[in-house]
């Protein structure tokens, strides 16, 4: 605990060990810690176990680069800019990744339980689906529900009978307490107070549920400024372990009030992600072809970034062409 430590991106990524259990901030193609993800690929992290309330472009970068061994989530894709998660799909079909499917709200229940120090959270959502089919428990099939890994629950879920109000059967979703939460934040204070703009998603819960938290902040600001409006903050500094200040750290995903989603970049990545060969070519250019996020930004160029820059009142870019008209 105590005051969070400020690190460079490379130093922070070096803290992650092969096989570690990670969760991320954001939602699909919004506020993902992309700079951190690229650097994990550069540093060759392996066998990562991911729990994600939902996946997105960052998931596909990690899965395509062969960094992921276990993916527990409910969804992966790039919204309008790429309808499938091709790298996860390919790995699941080839059997090189263990996928454990839950529903979106069941994932939220899991991270809520983790955040509040509870072993499980009840939910009545998505009963009667094949998500609950005992035959489809992939972590069990892989022999990983034997208790040897304290981060993997003994069962995918449980069903109990409500003995308090006699409402019948209800599901229990096991807590998630990952080793690391990798959180891209709009602003972080110099004492670690965290603020997100426009949407909070499940970022506050994801921070609380993890053993260690790394903030990748668009900006660092005085904590005294954030403390003028404490109701807009989502986490106190004592919950944060490390801080990396990394402007444009979420590109190509969007960061509300800083920059919009880079749709063309994600479309190009999505096309490349469809085969291993084209993914590798893409990674050679955009991940291994640059040595830092600064170099990546330089390669993107000022004009491209300027176009993505958010209108300071609306929170999104008004200069990108989004449709055909």
């Amino acid at each position: 605990m105590g005051k969070p430590q400020q690190l460079t991106l490379k130093e922070a990524v070096a803290l992650i060990n092969d096989g570690d259990f990670l969760t991320f901030s954001g939602f699909t193609i919004w506020r993902r810690p992309m700079a951190f993800v690229y650097e994990m690929v550069r540093q060759g992290k392996k066998d990562l176990h991911l729990f994600e309330v939902n996946g997105g472009t960052h998931t596909e970068v990690l899965a395509g680069a062969g960094c992921v061994k276990i993916w527990e989530s409910c969804w992966v894709g790039h919204e309008l800019y790429g309808k499938l998660g091709e790298a996860v799909a390919r790995a699941q079909v080839e059997g090189t990744i263990i996928v454990e499917d839950y529903s979106h709200a069941q994932c939220v229940a899991r991270i809520l339980a983790g955040a509040y120090g509870l072993p499980f959270m009840p939910t009545a959502l998505s009963m009667g689906t094949d998500i609950l089919n005992p035959k489809y428990d992939n972590l069990k099939k892989a022999g990983l529900r034997d208790g040897s890994n304290p981060k993997i629950p003994l069962k995918k879920y449980d069903i109990i009978h409500d003995t308090l109000y006699d409402k019948g059967e209800i599901l229990l979703m096991p807590a998630v307490n990952a080793d690391w939460a990798i959180i891209y934040a709009s602003q972080v204070g110099d004492e670690g107070t965290v603020r997100m703009f426009a949407h909070s998603y499940v970022d506050a819960e994801t921070i609380k549920a993890a053993d260690k938290v790394i903030i990748i902040a668009e900006e660092m600001v005085p904590d005294s400024y954030l403390r003028q409006d404490p109701d807009r903050n989502i986490a106190p500094g004592h919950a944060i372990d490390y801080i990396v200040v990394q402007p444009w750290g979420a590109h190509p995903t969007g960061s509300q009030y800083y920059y919009d989603v880079d749709a063309d970049f994600i479309r190009t990545f999505y096309a490349a992600s469809k085969t291993k060969e084209t993914f590798d070519q893409w990674a050679a250019e955009w991940i291994f072809g640059v040595s830092s996020h600064e170099e990546y930004l330089e390669k993107l160029g000022v004009n491209r970034l300027q176009k993505l820059r958010a209108n300071s009142v609306l929170g999104y870019s008004t200069s990108v062409k989004r449709g055909t008209r």
Binding site: Q92, A105, L125, I170, H199, A204
Partner: protein, 266 residues
Amino acid sequence: MAKNYATNYKPVDLLAVAAAREVNDGDVVFAGTGLPMLAILLAQVSHAPNAVCIYEAGTVDGRALDLPTSVGDARCAWQASIAAGLTETFYGQLHSGYVDLGFLGGAEIDKYGNVNTTVVGDYSAPSKRFTGSGGNPDINSFAKRTVFIMVQEKRRFKEHVDYITSPGWRLPKWPSGEIVHRREVFGKFYKGGPTAVITNMGVFRFDDDGIMYLDTVHPGFTPEQVRDNCSFDLNISRCRGETEKPTEEEIYLLYNRVDPEGIFLP
């Protein structure tokens, strides 16, 4: 006054308009990205100005100035009454019972309204993976009514879906897997279920046994053609006739108010 029906429209326009007509004024609607979003927004600027829209990323009753491209977009948060994240939308709004109507999509559907958005083939050794469930089964679990917007193809309208991602009317009750009525699976939590499926060929509803039937057929198609585009034996005996065409005003609103940039309607 007689309605001024559009003479020139695309299949996707009719889909959006037919879907919008499922919204009652005052409904609390939980909508996904894409056509579901167009449908609720069209309803709000036409016959259902008091409908409330919830997007699962966390915003409630937003009044976007520009069409969001996804539910996590900053545009969704503009003028929202609250923007409180997924815990609020899934548990504070949905699980607590506020939601009247869910607007969803799907890759495959069976005659009981079970929807697959997860895999093709055996889940243990799939030949293809789709995006996964997202919030589809959650919204469909607790909305009082659910409307699915889908593409009509024989391979998508199946006797049995490969994987039940989202619950229809007849479901496995776990852990045994015995197939029972949805009411038995949800018990005292039961609130409703799929009420309509809207495709590029027709509007489908569900009978008392939870089996899909053709309610109306879109102009230009026959009920038999729709049946030929289903892998199961679709009941077309209850077809009431043609789906009401879009009006000139609805088309104008779709292209000028809802999606003027041509994001989902190129």
